[in-house]
């Protein structure tokens, strides 16, 4: 497959996963605005901004005990993460980037995929924060996440299982792994910052991962942070766990086949296997747990770099006619 096409599809997968992840986080966060204490609301914002490694446009987050003020502040923060044009990680920016990559690669994706994505794009294009805030912002975020899920379903039903599929999935799983590692690190940091442990901080995390019921089934005990983190990192049956995401990305890399440089290919696969090792060990807890998440996060960044150098942007040498000839049909 053309390298630029592969890169476009890979980025499409990454951007849409990013939009989905943020939509789900914001759905939970806006749900909490109705009845959660201001402290929990600020915890949620700290977790989200920490995971994104971003400062709010309005400046640092500060806890205020005034309920109404928490709501006013939340409007600006949600706007920053949803529609702010200068924020490259806002939902609309990610959606636009994902759609733009799809537009450039339309000849590689199915017509059904394009129509599905384009319709969502058209819905988002003209919206502004007041439009969604006056009604039910949580519904807007739920719909947005559901539209991306629908797109994934359409992709699964209609896209031929060639390299186009594998690069979309590779981008999707690598992004998911990296975002999860960041979110879990941000969760630990926010819990430390707010000092008082609260079950709500952990149950909201479990709900983000659709893991609340799974946790309850596996753990009859009350909420235990290390058990929660252990489930989200190492459980290979949980759809969004780090373990399953890394396993899927290793599978996609194996299916893609070698790049032009054997050594670069080996390094890339070896890096993916290294990630598999990291998410496969028993959750260590405490400071070691945080260190493990950091290594996973760094490992994802390195893997992205290696994928780019192996498949998309490799150094071009004068063609070896023998080698080039092997690809001739």
């Amino acid at each position: 497959m053309l390298s630029r096409s592969a890169a476009g599809l890979y980025w499409m997968g990454r951007y849409l996963e990013r939009a989905s992840h943020l939509s789900r986080l914001l759905r939970q966060q806006t749900e909490s605005l109705a009845d959660s204490p201001p402290r929990d609301i600020y915890f949620g914002w700290h977790r989200i901004y920490g995971a994104l490694d971003r400062e709010p446009l309005s400046g640092a987050l500060e806890l205020d005990s005034d309920d109404l003020f928490a709501l006013v502040d939340s409007f600006a923060l949600a706007d920053d993460l949803t529609f702010e044009p200068t924020n490259p990680d806002s939902i609309r920016s990610c959606f636009a980037q994902g759609r733009e990559n799809a537009r450039q690669m339309r000849h590689h994706i199915s017509a059904e995929m394009w129509t599905c994505l384009n319709q969502s794009h058209l819905r988002l294009q003209d919206m502004e924060m007041p439009d969604i805030w006056v009604r039910s912002p949580e519904n807007f975020y739920a719909e947005t996440a559901a539209e991306i899920d629908t797109f994934r379903g359409v992709t699964s039903s209609t896209l031929y299982r060639d390299d186009a599929w594998h690069f979309v999935q590779l981008g999707n799983y690598l992004e998911r792994t990296q975002l999860s590692a960041s979110l879990l690190m941000a969760q630990i940091a926010a819990v430390h910052l707010f000092e008082v442990p609260a079950d709500a901080y952990w149950t909201s995390l479990l709900r983000h991962y659709y893991a609340f019921e799974a946790y309850n089934r596996a753990s009859s005990a009350a909420i235990d942070p290390d058990r929660v983190l252990g489930l989200l990192v190492t459980n290979p049956q949980l759809p969004d766990s780090l373990s399953l995401s890394v396993s899927e990305l290793c599978g996609e890399l194996a299916a893609i086949g070698p790049g032009p440089d054997t050594e670069a290919t080996a390094r890339t696969r070896s890096q993916a296997e290294y990630l598999r090792q990291l998410v496969g060990i028993e959750w260590p807890g405490g400071a070691d747990g945080h260190a493990l998440l950091r290594r996973i996060d760094e490992g994802c960044r390195e893997l992205h770099h290696l994928i780019t150098k192996t498949y998309f942007d490799y150094p071009v040498l004068a063609p070896d006619h023998g080698r080039a000839g092997r690809h001739d049909q």
Binding site: M1, L2, S5, A6, W114, N118, F167, D328, Q329
Partner: protein, 477 residues
């Protein structure tokens, strides 16, 4: 729906009605169907067609001062129809014309016999900005310089005329196919009843044409469509066609030339490319030969093509044959190369480089259409009958300053076809762009991109200037 507000003009050919006011025999089913529909029904079809274009993102890009806009071409839901007999006569003329144009290109970049024999003046060819000295001695595969041609046709009471030959990177075929898909679905009963000839195999025929032009010994060639990229106004079409023909959609940065061969960068390494359907203008194709500042092209591409290691479709340099001045000589080319009379006539053309033609043009500006030879898309032209005195004075000054840069033609009464305008059927001027493909043989799918001048009385059909499109059906006799 009725035709109460549909005014017939005896001076203008109507695609639906004869001079006696009755529908043409092949338009009977369409006439009856429209008569049985309400205005709301037809409007709903129009809205559905537009919505399907919106959802599918069938757009062209318009560039403003500081931002780009993806726009949808306005689509009229009433198809234009033609009988198979009439279409057969038209296709014979189109094939004849393209055959002569290919012979002309092979000749002027070779021995230039047509010039030596005095059929066309040497300066007419060599002063043309689209004449590429660099292509002298180039051997196009099978003598096919132009494999994909989009010929603009208009109809008057005197029959069809060729308005323009588009021989470089003609566009619009994706609209032909997309409009058909939407209109067929919306008018499915009428479509079945009318026995409309199919055009859906255009992609297969284009792919076959490209394969036939592959370098010697490359029986299963690797094909690529070279696009200037996402910012090109026709990017949707490039993507659409790449998908139709199973080719990779490449930009210049995806390709490189080594040892006279063209390769593309794939995830598994470099892969040789055999046929490039290029949608990049000559100027930007190869910075080593044409514009050195081009970032869209591929250094060394022309060298590889000269060696016969890659086929470029269409070949560079074909623009000289669709130049608005050279156009006037196409009937002479047909006589010279094919020994036959043109089956489709040209529009009478005055070359302002000739003093007598300049004088005639200046004396009759209010009746003529004046065109700048290097412009397209409806820009750089004066439509005399619709112009102001100030505009005519401005053009007169331009003509006197650089007469060779202009031609003039009589203002044609382009035929009109019924269109749904604000809930009523009204006539609008139309043209027709069929697509002619030449590889080992010449093939034409029975369809065309039919453009409409949506503004009442307007003759400008270009989509960039408010034009729209409608489906065009060739009906089995």
């Amino acid at each position: 729906m009725n035709f109460d507000s549909y005014d017939l003009d005896p001076a203008v050919f109507d695609e639906m009605f004869g001079a006696d006011g009755a529908p043409h025999p092949h338009c009977g089913d369409l006439y009856d169907t429209l008569g049985s529909m309400s205005s709301d029904d037809l409007s709903a079809i129009g809205e559905w067609v537009t919505r399907s274009f919106t959802n599918e993102g069938i757009t062209f890009t318009v560039y403003g001062d500081d931002e780009e806009t993806e726009r949808i071409i306005p689509i009229d839901s009433v198809p234009r129809v033609m009988s198979a007999t009439e279409w057969g006569e038209l296709t014979a003329g189109l094939k004849q014309r393209l055959s002569a144009l290919n012979r002309f290109l092979e000749d002027i970049y070779g021995e230039a016999r047509i010039i030596a024999d005095g059929v066309i003046p040497a300066d007419m060819v060599r002063d043309c900005p689209q004449y590429r000295l660099e292509m002298r001695g180039f051997k196009a595969p099978h003598g096919v310089w132009v494999a994909v041609c989009g010929t603009d046709l208009v109809r008057t009471n005197d029959g069809f005329r060729v308005l323009e030959d588009n021989l470089r990177v003609p566009s619009g075929v994706s609209y032909m196919l997309a409009i058909r898909k939407a209109t067929k679905s919306a008018h499915r009963l009428l479509y079945r009843l009318s026995r409309v000839r199919d055009i859906e195999n255009y992609g297969l025929i284009l792919a076959q044409t490209l394969r036939e032009l592959a370098p010697e010994g490359r029986s299963d060639p690797t094909m690529a469509l070279l696009t200037p990229g996402i910012y090109n106004s026709a990017f949707y079409e490039h993507m659409f066609l790449a998908r139709q023909i199973g080719a990779d959609l490449v930009e210049g940065r995806d390709l490189l030339v080594e040892d006279g061969y063209v390769y593309m960068r794939t995830t598994s390494g470099l892969k040789r490319v055999d046929v490039i359907y290029r949608r990049v203008d000559d100027d930007f194709l190869d910075p080593l030969v044409f514009r050195p500042d081009s970032l869209l092209g591929v250094p060394g591409l022309l060298h590889a093509a000269r060696l016969g290691n890659v086929s470029l479709v269409n070949a560079p340099g074909t623009g000289v044959a669709d130049d608005k001045s050279v156009y006037a000589f196409v009937p002479d080319m047909i006589r010279y190369y094919l020994g036959a009379e043109p089956l489709i006539e040209n529009v009478e053309t005055y070359l302002c480089r000739r003093p007598e033609d300049l004088e005639y043009t200046l004396d009759n500006l209010e009746h003529l259409v004046v065109k700048r030879v290097g412009e397209s898309g409806g820009y750089g032209m004066l439509i005399g009958p619709h112009s102001t005195a100030e505009e005519r004075n401005e053009f007169a000054a331009l003509l006197r300053a650089d007469p060779a840069d202009y031609i003039s033609q009589p203002t044609l009464a382009l035929s009109r076809a019924p269109c749904l305008i604000e809930g009523r059927l009204e006539p609008r001027h139309v043209d027709l762009r069929p697509f002619i493909l030449t590889g080992a043989e010449t093939r034409i799918v029975p369809g065309a991109f039919c453009r409409i001048a949506l503004r009442r009385g307007s003759l400008v059909v270009n989509s960039s200037q408010g034009g729209g499109g409608k489906d065009f059906w060739v009906l089995d006799d």
